[in-house]
């Protein structure tokens, strides 16, 4: 339980502009280590998208401007892949890359900006995804990430817990 509460507090999803979605998380490690874990395939495949039933089966990272990355996960529902090209690489603080899914669920190429800031031995990581238009961003939001949805989510939680109490 303690972990859940902690994670909720340190993990935030926001909408900094009408085409973007940002996610922030604090890690208890210096920036150079977080940067390594985020960019070295042997480390990346140990955590990114790894959860019950899912493993990363392809993880290729050519970390330089113009270099490509490619990830494929294997899960109960089959394989899912994505990849893109690095546009900016500033070790160990900033990476800009494109993002396209093999089986695209939104239009166009999104641009990811990863920023790492170290304070007192801890690293705050912010990943911002910029979509091609507000419509696309909103479609992604409608699939479950907006403030409105977060608000709805609180109501849902209340509603569901009262149902549980009455059942």
């Amino acid at each position: 339980m303690k972990d859940t509460v902690q994670n909720t507090e340190s993990f935030q999803v926001t909408t900094p502009s009408d085409r973007e979605i940002a996610m922030t998380r604090v890690f208890d490690a210096p920036r150079r280590l977080v940067f390594d874990a985020w960019t070295k395939p042997e480390l990346l495949r140990r955590w990114l998208g790894v959860r019950a039933g899912w493993t990363m089966v392809v993880c290729e990272v050519d970390l330089k401007v113009g270099g490509a990355y490619r990830y494929v996960w294997r899960g109960p529902a089959g394989d899912m892949g994505m990849g893109g090209v690095f546009r900016e690489v500033v070790r160990p603080e900033r990476i800009v890359s494109t993002e396209v899914f093999d089986d695209p669920w939104y239009a166009g190429e999104a641009v990811d900006t990863l920023v790492m800031v170290e304070t007192g031995g801890k690293t705050t990581v912010t990943t911002t995804v910029r979509y091609v238009s507000q419509q696309v961003r909103d479609a992604v939001l409608a699939s479950g990430m907006s403030r409105g949805v977060a608000e709805s989510y609180d109501v849902l939680a209340e509603v569901l817990s009262s149902i549980a109490r009455e059942a």
Binding site: D3, N7, F11, M23, R25, F27, D28, A29, P30, L33, V34, D36, A37, L43, R46, W47, L48, G49, V50, R51, A52, W54, W73, G75, A77, M80, F101, D103, P104, W105, G120, G121, K122, V140, A142, S143, G144, M145, G148, V149, S152, Y153, V155, L156, A157, E158, V159, L160, S162, I163, E166
Partner: protein, 141 residues
């Protein structure tokens, strides 16, 4: 395909659920129905809007499958349908789970990297005082 295999509930169904939930009056109606069935008259009581306006909201909620009408012909009490709500909630939970699950693994990887650095004696701290081994395990917060 849905994002990163977070879930495979019909997108239309989710759209309808979230559209219905986007309105505060409708959320209030759902919250009220969570404590038991109620007629349109009863549902209108807490609001300053007309019964007709409440009826409109009820129609939206009904189309989204979030509520249904009871059989009592006269009062037609509305009741909450829990399943679409549960589905929407679990989708969001899977999204968070994907990232929080990933990040928890990342926390473990980072702990290992820190331990390796300490063993190599390459901690960020200048290791002047004491022997390397007896220094507190990197906790200088």
């Amino acid at each position: 395909m849905e994002p990163l295999g977070y879930g495979r509930i019909s997108a239309d169904r989710l759209d309808a659920t979230f559209a219905a939930l986007a309105d505060p009056t409708r959320r209030a109606i759902l919250a009220r129905l969570a404590s038991g069935r109620a007629s349109v008259t009863q549902l209108t009581e807490p609001f300053v809007i007309s019964q007709a306006a409440v009826s409109k909201h009820l129609k939206v909620l009904e189309r989204a499958g979030l509520i249904s009408q009871g059989r009592d012909a006269q009062r037609r009490p509305r009741r909450l349908e829990a399943k679409p709500l549960a589905e929407a909630t679990s989708w969001l939970e899977r999204y968070r789970e994907f990232w929080e699950g990933s990040f928890q693994h990342l926390d473990v990887v980072l702990d290992e990297l820190k331990a390796i650095e300490r063993k190599r004696g390459r901690t960020a701290e200048p290791k002047k005082r004491g022997t390397r081994k007896r220094q507190k395990r990197g906790d200088h917060r």
